[in-house]
Symmetry: C2
Subunit: 397 residues, 2 copies
């Protein structure tokens, strides 16, 4: 009875979600402290105290008709958009105005808005494996075709030669996600410059516009002082999707934004269309209270040390067990090589030790598993003996 | 550069929104108190005090990791869904469980979720004119075809003979909206029974499933003691979309739900698919804090007397001016006959008096204009002399 398009979707429903729900089931049987759930990017760092303070102030001091009402524009409160534009300008030397910012229902909402805005059926969207599996669903929502660039399993940096070959006259967008989910890799400035040059040349060659969509929920999570380049500065047709899910630990509140700079070709039309797409997709506007909250918390910093300690402890612990993994520079994931070719089988074996991992095939990169280390430090520490047992069974040590 | 589908959308961008933005512009010139903006369904009743109390309690007493985190299921918090199911059961004698409820980003989000779940390209969705213009956009999002039933301009009740004729083997869904936007009409139990009988017969005739989608943002707004039938009791394949936008005055917060009863054919599959659709459309889950807020405020009542006073005052005032209008039994709209055939022209003339009305063509019913009377009582009272001047110019009096 359901739509044909949905049938496959339901059958292959998110492996990440399935694992997360399995984690809750196991927690009920064994107790939450004995289940090591590395499946979902649900931050275990509480939202900063400033968020609570902002919410209480807002509901105590604002007119509820304005605070909880429709925003004048579907793109959000003018003052919030301006605050965000100014903050980006200060941090990255850009020159955005409020009008360049569209408040969205998280980055997932923002990506759907911009793909709805841009894609005609059969337009191609390029993603670099491994990539967040939802990009395929989002592209499919608008009858686009996801074109995959195969993973470079040495470095997990984008394979630029294959990228150049796979751009066609139908290429409408390229999605990059740096710091990357699931590898934690950050693309260097040099890589970005090379990508931009390729895209510029291909735009000229085909007489088309190719939009670079930068999905940035992990922008604030970069370790060891590594710089995450702000992509609008390298390529004119760049659109940024941001989320406060990780930076303010608000994933359930669905708050983020799109940046559509003036440098984007026909930016006014793209902005108007995105404003309409935000409405007709049913978002209408980003949740209003949370719009005001993020503006009030604009200078709040993510507790990087929490994630960094987890990263170091888990990374070193897994290496000691004999597992192979590149050290991530950002985000809160480790992408670990499966000791056996079939990483789904490996995930099943790990589950016997109450270790919940996500198979790399969910990210178009089989032979690997993803661990989300946004869990409590205790979970990391207590999981290590289990990983040791698992490593023994897998004959890694 | 934007998608072909979006080009027309941007050109004809919501007349309601355009009028609302025009209202803000005029308010800056003439002062808000001298602009009578009847364009948007943005309630002027503040959210009940209980909402503020609930928010403060929740952020003060809950673990922020849970309160602002992803919900275990994309369909929402289990306890919230159960609270809503129980409340519906008490009020309407239904027998829903938590699993039948999917929390959504408002009713607009819910409608998109269920249409994504059900529609194949070229499937037909029936709506009764006049109807909320966004139904056309939502149907178009999934390449469905909106089939219009012409308006009965005597009563604004659905034309059941035309309805029966226009159901085909491609009819996948029928959207009803009672109390109705823009007319304020409530469909009687007798009408609902007749509609259900027609749909049952057509399902048999074509061997298809035809879903009745009840869009109910105005359920709580019914006057003069009129009953609004709960449609799941009359027809098995009924799905309800609800929003707290009007009942708790939270339109900007984007919080509502879908009800998919067990009686729906293959309801488990429909529920699973809707859960997935909620995720992949980019909603992910309804905003978490607001989920908890509506559960805490489950027994809050809308301040009906506020709207009722506006209704009586504006209705009687317009009649005195010589305008024609049926008296609405629900919602917060008056659907007034334009004194001239071209109601867009009438709206332009009204704007000279700082009266902002929405043309009926936005609701597939030209020759009429919609007035949203969810404004302050002062706005109603102060607008009446302006309506009198307008009536004189239009030679109504």
């Amino acid at each position: 009875m359901i739509a044909e398009k949905m049938k496959g979707m339901v059958a292959n429903s998110s492996a990440i979600r399935a694992m997360f729900e399995e984690g809750n089931r196991l927690a009920e049987i064994y107790g939450a402290e004995n289940v090591f759930d590395f499946s979902l990017g649900n931050p275990n760092v509480p939202a900063p105290e400033a968020v609570k303070k902002a919410i209480i102030e807002l509901v105590s001091e604002s007119d509820p008709i304005v605070l909880h009402g429709y925003t004048n524009s579907n793109s959000g409160y003018a003052d919030v958009r301006e605050t965000i534009a100014n903050s980006l300008n200060e941090r990255f030397g850009t020159s955005f105005e409020g009008k360049n910012i569209i408040m969205t229902v998280g980055a997932a909402g923002g990506l759907n808005v911009i793909l709805k805005t841009l894609l005609n059926p059969r337009d191609e969207v390029i993603a670099f494996a491994p990539y967040f599996g939802e990009y395929r669903s989002y592209t499919n929502n608008f009858d686009g075709v996801l074109v995959e660039i195969s993973p470079d399993k040495e470095t997990f940096q984008p394979k630029l030669d294959e990228f150049e070959q796979k751009i066609t006259a139908k290429t409408k967008a390229v999605i990059v996600n740096t710091p990357n989910n699931p590898t934690g890799v950050v693309y260097s400035e040099d890589t970005i410059k090379k990508m931009a040059a390729i895209m510029e040349a291909k735009q000229k060659e085909f007489g088309t516009e190719i939009y670079l969509i930068s999905d940035e929920p992990y922008r604030e999570l970069a370790y060891d002082g590594v710089e995450v380049p702000y992509l609008t500065k390298y390529y004119d047709n760049t659109i940024v999707g941001y989320s406060y899910s990780k930076s303010l630990s608000l994933p359930g509140e669905r708050i983020g934004y799109l940046v559509i700079p003036d440098e984007v070709t026909d930016s006014e039309t793209v902005l108007s269309a995105a404003n309409v797409a935000n409405r007709i997709l049913g978002f209408v506007n980003a949740p209003t209270l949370q719009q005001k909250v993020v503006a009030k918390c604009i200078n709040e910093k993510t507790d990087l040390s929490f994630y960094d300690r987890n990263r170091e402890t888990l990374y070193n612990g897994l290496l000691e067990c004999g597992f192979e993994c590149i050290k991530p520079q950002g985000a809160f994931y480790l992408f670990v090589k499966s000791p056996i070719a079939d990483e789904k089988e490996f995930c099943s074996i790990a589950k016997k030790y109450n270790l919940l991992l996500v198979p790399g095939s969910s990210f178009a990169c089989s032979g690997y598993v993803r661990l989300a280390y946004c869990v409590s430090y205790e979970t990391i520490v207590n999981s290590l003996p289990k990983f040791k047992e698992l490593a023994k069974e897998m004959k890694c040590i």
